[in-house]
C-alpha cells in the first residue's frame, strides 16, 4: 500500500475529490495547510506572502492503483501556473479498519 499526500490549490479541492470519487477512490482525508515552495511565497507589488494556503489531501491506496490516482490528481489540480502543488508518495505496511478490526484497506 502507498500513502499519497497531495498539496493542491484550495479552489481545486472539490474538483479533485469528485474526480477521485468518480474513479472509485472515495476515501481520503483533507487538512488545510499553509506552506511555501521554490518561489518562497508570493510577492504582489509591495506585499509579500511568505506562506500560501493549500489543501493537503491524504489517501492510502493499493500499489496497483497508485499511478491511476496520481494521474487523476495531476489532471484535475493542474492549472499550469506556479503554485499547483506537489504529490508525495510514501510506503504503508499495514492498514486496519477500526469498525471490523480487519487488516487491509
Amino acid at each position: 500500500m502507498k500513502m499519497i499526500r497531495a498539496f493542491i490549490r484550495p479552489e481545486k479541492e472539490q474538483e479533485v475529490v469528485l474526480a477521485l470519487e468518480g474513479a472509485g477512490f472515495p476515501s481520503l482525508t483533507k487538512v488545510p495547510v499553509f506552506g511555501r515552495g521554490k518561489q518562497k511565497g508570493l510577492t504582489v507589488g509591495p506585499v509579500h506572502y511568505d506562506e500560501l494556503p493549500k489543501v493537503l489531501i491524504m489517501t492510502v491506496v493499493n500499489d496497483k492503483d497508485m499511478d491511476k490516482v496520481m494521474k487523476v490528481i495531476q489532471d484535475k489540480a493542474r492549472t499550469g501556473f506556479i503554485g499547483d502543488g506537489k504529490i508525495f508518495i510514501s510506503p504503508v505496511e499495514n492498514a486496519y479498519t477500526v469498525r471490523t478490526g480487519e487488516a487491509g484497506l
Binding site: M3, V17, S27, T29, V31, V60, Y96, T97, V98, R99
Partner: protein, 138 residues
C-alpha cells in the same frame, strides 16, 4: 520504528489518549482533519449517535430516472466528516499491541470508526539532545 497514523471519531480522543498512556506510549500528535470514506462523507444517526436525524446527509431516495437526472445535472458537493488524526511513533515490537488497543478503544461497530495505517520511519532525532533512532522516541 513505525509510524501509526490513526483517524478516529472526535469524541473518542480522551479515551484513546488514556489507553495510550496506560500502554506507556503517551507521545502523540493530534490534528483536526476532515475526511470521507466508503460512505462518501454521508453522515446518519446510525453512524453518529450524537447527531440528530434531521442532519442526515445520506441519500435516502431510491435511484429513479428522475433522481438520477437530478443527480447529474446539479453540481455535486463533496461532503466531509470532521475527524481527529493521531500520529504515534513507536518501536517495531509494540506495533501490534498499540494497534489492538486502538481498535479496542475506538470500535463502535458503526460506519465512521476510522482507519489505522502503519508505515515505516527511517530515522528520528530528539531536537533537545540530538539523540537518534530508538533513543529519540524512548
Amino acid at each position: 520504528m513505525k509510524e501509526i497514523t490513526v483517524i478516529i471519531r472526535r469524541d473518542k480522543l480522551p479515551e484513546t489518549k488514556k489507553a495510550l498512556d496506560d500502554l506507556g506510549y503517551p507521545s502523540l500528535t493530534i490534528q483536526s482533519v476532515e475526511g470521507r470514506g466508503k460512505q462518501k462523507g454521508a453522515m446518519c444517526a446510525e453512524m453518529d449517535t450524537e447527531m440528530p436525524d434531521s442532519y442526515c446527509t445520506a441519500v435516502k431516495l431510491k435511484p429513479t430516472p428522475s433522481t438520477y437526472a437530478l443527480d447529474h445535472t446539479l453540481p455535486k458537493i463533496a461532503l466531509f466528516v470532521p475527524k481527529r488524526l493521531l500520529t504515534i511513533v513507536v518501536p517495531d515490537d509494540v506495533v501490534s499491541t498499540v494497534v489492538k488497543s486502538l481498535i479496542k478503544v475506538n470500535q463502535t461497530g458503526k460506519a465512521g470508526d476510522g482507519k489505522i495505517f502503519v508505515s515505516p520511519i527511517e530515522n528520528a532525532v530528539r531536537v533537545r539532545t540530538g539523540e537518534r533512532n530508538g533513543e529519540a522516541i524512548a
